[in-house]
Subunit: 408 residues, 2 copies
């Protein structure tokens, strides 16, 4: 008789964004005339830029010819893409990353989830609280999280690092020893960033304790301040303790186009094994590469036109972030993030809970948000807004929230 | 200190096709004038058909507009694709599959590897021998295969079902109880097929023992004989014991375009849990869907033009299979497969080993093949040829092998 993976049965309820979508649907069905502005899920809305569209058309045309047809590509990605990533995302920042350390994939969500394959079950995992649910859920599925404690909203084997107003939403390394550490800066969901000194403390901790930092840098393109690191590999010592996840989703609007990459340095060894080789083996065995046309699309992001055009899209979203941040501040809300990140973290007024604030904004301002508590217990009392919407709709949504605040 | 997944260290040598590629490269470097015909890896060579190319161009254009842009799609695939799959691949064969039972993915390799996530570690896994290495390696990574016994070329916890000339390369259910059973028909690497009665015996066995059949049907488009099942779900009782993997790779030349799907029936429960729900949770947590343009490409395979054009490509490869099968038979080789499959399974002459025969054909006929032993111990003494090459090059390769045979 087949035994299932019983860890799956321990997972509580449904995936956060499914529940958000469900509540929006219930509300919309009951109020068909209400025009809901979704500042909830972090999905982009600007179309692919012309340089990317052109490169894809060209690749599609190639695929229709015998000479230009591409079958199986390298599981790790084509050199034409790995080379420009190494050049523009790293070497241009003074960081030396070898193309063989770059593994192109279909998404940072896949990579963040699948990376667990190469680690043993009995590692102690530390996560920020609040946190992107994928880190937690995939570790729960693998048996590293232990049991879910409904009353606490926590797993008993995970180490939670509260990210709260008092520590500027950026945790310091724990006193205890942890093995695997998920960090995400600029942060989802709080929009916080980590300074060079803060990251250095983490790198030192990891090297001292033989830990591995899984650094999610999916939002680096939104950094505006000069001294905030864009990659963990700007920090000395990171090559012996960190793996970095990057994505084209938010940088170039690829949420529906699907391309990302993971960097595993060759110096990163644990238990006497090279993690670069382990990840390579994992990808060669369970993955067959990203579509050729998609890799051509991603490479076009690095052309002069592609860079200029994607930068303009990011500026568009950054402007939205500013409108939300300033608009809600002016309305009297306590607001974090949004300066170097596409996420704005808003404190619910009057000690209201996250879901209550979510329901209030949905009902009274027709704005969909994401409840902070969905990202972990320390997110209770907050909601997350995203800057990825249409500029006009975002401004109107902010105006409706302001009107609501004034009427209370 | 981080503990790695030690099962990875048990994996022997490199992935089969990497070793084949390495030997070809070594030979080519030493003999730069030799023009090698690769009948080794199962990669297609015909370009994408016009209907697919046109659909992709249209989708790319959409993605460049605000109105037509698509961000995150459903993790399970768009309805427009799941609906036509249910219609053309199942309902038209009299098989009722609900679109919600279809999970669109980036490849059957990914799905065959990732499906293990939803099963416990202590299941007994049965595989054919020879076998597509992904089934074995991914179970070894998960700890279900036990220890690798170098001298036997086998893992001590796997149940191997020899597929040999005596049983027509199609095994019967074992006497012992096994939990998870990988079956692939038309078979890679032997090209064998399973009859309705043979599959019925497997379905009955699985239902009686609470086993789950993981049925890889990636090559069903190559079936020419009327009474050979195209899907396990043509067999009564399969909905309570089977998961099926399908791919556009060989059907529509998508090896570099990446689209596949997995069917998990809603009636399939084990340990009191719905495997459809478990797989849905896995995909929602660790996967973010297939690119919109790729799903549009796949949907175009089912249009009248798409069906006609892809059928013509399959006919082209089927002709190659016939040329190889008949040409090698005439030259005195013992040949299997190739009638309902793109793979031809050739017995090495004079009790020669697989790798020796591989080296001989590479050196003397400039034909690259895949050594049968690379697929498992029972593959020793065979090589696999594929029908996916250029027709003229394939015919010339066959002629060179014939000339070699005559000179011996």
């Amino acid at each position: 008789m087949v035994k299932i993976n019983e860890n799956y049965l321990k997972l509580p309820g449904s995936y956060l964004f499914s529940e958000v979508a469900r509540r929006i649907k219930v509300y919309s069905d009951a109020h068909p005339d209400a025009k809901i502005t979704k500042l909830s899920i972090g999905d982009v809305t600007r179309p692919l830029v012309p340089a990317v569209v052109e490169a894809m058309h060209q690749a599609v045309t190639e695929m229709g010819t015998t000479e230009g047809f591409h079958g199986y590509g390298p599981e790790q990605g084509y050199d034409f893409l790995r080379d420009v990533i190494a050049q523009y995302d790293y070497r241009d920042r003074g960081v030396d990353i070898d193309p063989e350390e770059i593994f192109v994939s279909d998404g940072a969500k896949s990579d963040c989830g699948n990376i667990g394959d190469i680690f043993g079950v009995d590692n102690v995992v530390a996560v920020c609280d609040p946190v992107y649910p994928v880190y937690v859920d995939t570790n729960a599925m693998a048996g590293r999280a232990g049991e879910y404690q409904e009353e606490l909203g926590r797993w008993n084997k995970l180490v939670y690092m509260p990210c709260v107003q008092e520590n500027g939403f950026t945790p310091v390394p724990p006193q205890e020893k942890v093995d695997i550490i998920y960090l995400c800066f600029p942060n989802n969901p709080t929009g916080a960033v980590a300074s060079r000194a803060q990251l250095k403390a983490w790198v030192d901790y990891a090297n001292e304790n033989g830990s591995v930092i899984l650094f999610d840098s999916a939002y680096e393109a939104f950094i505006t301040e000069d001294d905030i690191p864009h990659t963990i590999f700007e920090i000395e010592g990171a090559r012996t303790c960190a793996i970095e996840f990057r994505s084209f989703s938010k940088t170039a609007g690829f949420t529906g186009t699907r391309c990302a990459y993971t960097v595993v340095p060759k110096e990163l060894n644990r238990d006497g094994a090279s993690l670069n080789k382990l990840w390579n083996r994992r990808q060669c065995t369970k993955f067959n590469g990203v579509p050729y046309v998609i890799q051509r699309a991603a490479a076009a992001v690095y052309t002069p036109e592609g860079r200029e055009q994607t930068r303009a899209n990011i500026a568009y979203y950054q402007k939205n972030a500013q409108v939300i941040r300033e608009g809600l501040s002016q309305a009297g809300f306590t607001v974090f993030g949004g300066a170097n990140a596409p996420y704005i973290w808003v404190k619910a007024p009057h000690n209201m809970g996250s879901w209550d604030f979510f329901d209030l904004l949905l009902d009274r301002a027709h704005v969909a948000t994401t409840p902070g508590v969905g990202f972990g217990p320390s997110g209770e009392g907050y909601i997350r807004l995203t800057a990825f919407g249409d500029a006009e709709a975002t401004a109107q949504a902010v105006a409706r929230i302001q009107a609501l605040a004034h009427h209370k």
